[in-house]
Symmetry: C2
Subunit: 238 residues, 2 copies
DNA sequence: AGTCGTGATCTGTGATCACATATTAACTCA
DNA sequence: TGAGTTAATATGTGATCACAGATCACGACT
């Protein structure tokens, strides 16, 4: 079974992406970027038709997303984007500060120079996008996400990253729906927090990195808590 | 829409458990309790036959478990219980101490008297089961789990609990497979840590609760790291 | 008008079929 | 005896069918 290190052994397996996986990624992206509004309902068949596949792959994707809490399966057999309550949002905020703070601290300590370079790049891209103003809100939100995850990846713990992805998936719709409306108010703080975060990671200062991430999360969280009166009392849509 | 409070309004919805859900719970329990050994392979059709259903519910269950990392989908189209490496086990240990420690601290602060009563009950049951010796290893492991989760539930954060469930699901096979062999060595420490944990929760001392849980996790973790040479280098079975 | 039944339509769930691909068995040839 | 090849079996993935239950629209009756 042993082989000399030929080109064959290095070729790497060509990835098999099933339709279910692609449907999952597509829906996931839609949800996380806020393209699907909370309480929006969707059906297997309509999504399947939109994606040009049968309902089977969609079933698989929806099953996963429901298991992760990114979609909700109402007792009436209806699939919907779960609507956020103030209490749940605050719960997520508490958990995120703890876990993402931990990840940032680990990242600061364990980062490689490669990690650092990536983080610096994303930070620069983010500042550029924000500088361009409202025309780049979508991409600046995207870059904000990529910067955060570049940091979390640097912690060298895939499991931790996947946990955080799950949290962002839950909080994604509200964050993006809200911040897209008025990005400017929050982005000013974001740049400050990001600067502190990057500096902490450069200095490999775990506590400072944690503090910066916590402040960033709290800042955007409080902004949304203050600006959005919608989901405070919204049991049912009109 | 408003109704007087008649028997109809109190009846409560009768829960709808799909076959897929039941298959998921069954497999999940098997995995978490170590009944399925790491690297054990299983097929949709064989599981379906064992459960007396078609493969559809099994597909759904397996899909979820794979998404949670509790099962692994090999590139050869084979479903297997993922085998643990030393590095991954240590990674899980680090994450668990952080997250479960946080949950315990929150629990100590936010617990109600109802929560406390439940925790005390489970603690007593656990000590009883351990006292009965090796005949009760399975139930003492089960009670250990229930005690831990009674604590985590007391934090009042369902999302946090589900995250921890995911971690136990990943770490379950190894833990149970190993501890079942020689429960006695670890349980002595466990009782000590549990006692400290319970006391901290009584006193609503968050830091002490966190320290106790962290010590408990580290203790059992190091026991397994020391006793089990298996998965250090086990790329393939015979 | 307001309420209740009734039919049509749409929903998720489960079973079955179809298929490309892996795994294994048997076999051939050296 | 052993390597290479072929036939057979088993696998996950995807599509389609069947069905119970939910939703909605329309109409009848009070």
């Amino acid at each position: 079974m042993e082989q000399t290190d030929t080109a064959l052994t290095q070729m790497g397996q060509l990835e098999r992406v099933t339709l279910g996986e692609r449907a999952y990624l597509k829906l996931r992206q839609l949800i996380m970027s806020g393209k699907l509004a909370p309480n929006e309902k969707l059906s297997l068949r309509s999504v399947a038709e939109a994606l040009g596949v049968s309902i089977m792959p969609v079933r698989e994707a929806v099953t996963r997303l429901v298991a992760e809490g990114a979609l909700s399966l109402l007792p009436n057999r209806a699939i919907s984007v779960p609507l956020m309550t103030r209490a749940k949002f605050e719960e997520l905020l508490r958990i995120r500060t703890e876990i993402e703070g931990f990840a940032a601290a680990e990242a600061a300590v364990h980062r490689t120079s490669r990690d650092l370079k990536l983080i610096l790049d994303y930070d620069k891209d983010f500042r550029d996008a924000v500088g361009k103003g409202d025309s780049e809100v979508d991409s600046s939100l995207q870059l904000n996400k990529e910067l955060h995850f570049a940091v979390y990846e640097a912690a060298g713990s895939p499991i931790l990253v996947s946990i955080i992805e799950g949290l962002w998936l839950k909080v994604g719709p509200v964050i993006n729906l809200d911040l897209r409306a008025s990005q400017r108010l929050a982005s000013g703080n974001a740049e400050t927090h990001h600067a502190r975060l990057v500096e902490a990671i450069i200095n490999q200062d775990g506590n400072a990195a944690r503090a910066a991430v916590v402040a960033d999360i709290r800042s955007s969280g409080e902004f949304i808590l203050g600006s959005n009166q919608l989901w405070t009392n919204l049991p049912e849509p009109a």
